[in-house]
């Protein structure tokens, strides 16, 4: 298998005025091309920090991050990023938010934006401004915006965390659909163990203080998955056991 993303001995230290905090310690992870990986771990263990490093938003770290044979040297359209908050530009309507700096006068862009609007089920809302959208709709616009750039890797930082259970399930299914269709490599950070089990082929369990990888659990359940199936439940308790070694973090888990 070709690897889409290689994280080699990555450590990250935040330096304040006096002290320096080791946030990520010697991370090692390979993500295959087209693979769906989730990262799960207690709050503050450095999941967002790791995604930012992969995105190239922060270049001050030790170790190497290689995406598609190239060492990361800055942000790029090839690595789409979906933030916890939608981060749409409030002064642009839905279609202009999706196109961003690409011109909608371009026939090809126009068509692809229309297709994506259909894909994220926002037909009829092309001219609507973000303030008129619900949280779930905004997040779908953000997903379409990232997909328009045809990223090789899509980085998702708790994208559905702020949504209600119903919308969340709907968007999880939409994301699976997109993944199965486009074969985009997905790296999903989540607080929600069920979400990671439902979506991913591999769950990376992280540990805090300092942030490090505790275990990598392959999820070998065929899609579409049922949250009530026996194998689902077994893997769930297995990962919960892994996490249970830190009773003080227990309350951080949404189950």
């Amino acid at each position: 298998m070709v690897s889409a993303l290689e994280i080699k001995h990555v450590s990250k230290t935040f330096k304040n005025d006096q002290e320096s905090i080791l946030v990520l310690k010697d991370l090692h992870l390979t993500v295959n091309d087209g693979e769906f990986v989730s990262i799960i771990g207690p709050s503050g263990c450095g999941k967002s920090t790791l995604l930012k490093l992969i995105a190239g938003l922060d270049l001050e770290f030790d170790g190497k991050i290689i995406v598609g044979n190239h060492q990361v040297s800055g942000p790029s359209k090839d690595r789409g990023f979906i933030f916890q908050e939608h981060r749409l530009f409030p002064w642009l309507n839905v279609e202009n938010n999706i196109s961003g700096n690409l011109s909608l006068k371009n026939q090809d862009t126009r068509k692809r934006v229309d297709d994506l609007i259909a894909l994220v089920k926002l037909k009829g809302f092309e001219r609507v401004y973000p303030r008129q959208l619900s949280g779930g709709m905004s997040q779908r616009v953000a997903i379409a915006r990232a997909l328009l750039r045809n990223p090789d890797v899509l980085l998702l930082d708790e994208p559905f965390g702020a949504l209600d259970a119903f919308t969340r399930t709907h968007l999880q299914e939409a994301l699976l659909e997109i993944w199965e269709r486009n074969k985009t490599t997905m790296v999903l950070v989540t607080h929600d163990l069920d979400e990671s089990l439902f979506l991913s082929e591999k769950v990376v369990v992280m540990d805090a203080k300092p942030g490090s990888i505790k275990a990598i659990v392959p999820i070998e359940i065929p899609y579409p998955r049922s949250r009530t199936s026996k194998s689902f439940q077994e893997l769930r308790s297995h990962i919960l056991n892994l996490l249970d070694h830190h009773p003080q973090d227990k309350e951080d888990w949404s189950i």
């Binding site: 800055g74 942000p75 790029s76 933030f83 981060r87 961003g100 009829g124 973000p130 303030r131 915006r145």
Partner: protein
């Protein structure tokens, strides 16, 4: 999905209509008090209770206005006043916008320029007027410069504030979408700062009018301000009122113009939905 969309759109249109009806009603209510004042003023003047010499009356003011328009005197004064105001506003506004953009975008230029500008800002403009007259005389230059100074500060300040307060999180988005340096300025910073810039334009306009009045009252041989001063020395109260009304109207019209711009450019904002 599409049925739902249509229903939502319809709802939007309906609420828009209701809003417009509400606005019309509240506008009507707003004209009530001025009308009462006008009628009372005219009645008291005609009845001889208010001395017309000092307080004039609506009908006298209207007559004076018509006479001034007919004789072409009004057009002459208005033209010179408008020219001064526009020149001064254009000069000061342009510099305010330009320096505001530079200082708002570059940390270094902020450190060099902002403290000095903020210090100058606290000096009351009227206190500088005598200096301007000493340096630039009673001619057009001192007037235009005073107006420019009045327009400069609000626009500088708001542009700078707007650019400084651009949501930092949106920069990360622009970087990931590979916006060029120019695109970051034109497609992120300027639109994000636009509400502040428009507010700055509005404040700059009202400040420019203020400075115009001051400059023309202090010493001029033409212009609406001069017309007021001249009429005052001859106790022509009705013409004084005409001048005041002209200034008020000019302020109102320029303010409405900016509001019009806001309604068009900021329709993405909550508060500009109407």
């Amino acid at each position: 999905m599409s049925a739902q969309t249509i229903a939502q759109n319809e709802q939007l249109v309906m609420s828009e209509r209701k809003k417009q009806a509400k606005i019309a009603k509240s506008a009507l209510r707003g004209t009530f008090l001025p009308l009462v004042v006008l009628i009372a003023w005219q009645a008291l003047g005609s009845a001889g209770i208010l001395p017309v010499q000092l307080f004039s009356s609506p009908s006298l003011i209207a007559t004076a206005f018509i006479d001034l328009v007919k004789s072409g005197e009004m057009a002459g004064h208005l033209q010179i006043s408008l020219t001064r105001a526009l020149l001064g506003f254009a000069l000061g506004g342009f510099l305010g916008l330009l320096i505001g953009i530079i200082v708002g975008m570059q940390k270094k230029s902020e450190e060099y320029l902002n403290p000095s500008i903020q210090m100058l800002r606290t000096v009351p403009l009227l206190a500088i007027t005598p200096l301007f007259i000493m340096w630039f005389g009673f001619g057009e230059l001192s007037k235009v410069l005073l107006i420019a100074l009045g327009a400069f500060f609000p626009l500088y300040l708001q542009t700078f504030l707007g650019l400084r307060n651009v949501d930092k999180k949106l920069y990360d988005v622009a970087r990931i979408l590979e916006y060029s340096r120019l695109e970051k300025i034109t497609k992120l910073m300027i639109p994000a700062a636009l509400p502040n810039i428009l507010l700055g334009i509005r404040l700059a306009l009202s400040s420019a009018w203020m400075c115009l009045v001051v400059a023309e009252l202090l010493g001029a041989d033409r212009g609406v301000g001069f017309m007021i001063q001249d009429a005052r020395s001859f106790m022509q109260t009705d013409i004084v009122f005409v001048g005041i009304i002209i200034f008020a109207l000019a302020g109102k019209i320029s303010d409405s113009f900016v509001r019009f711009l806001e309604n068009h450019l900021l329709k993405w904002q909550d508060s500009f939905k109407a």
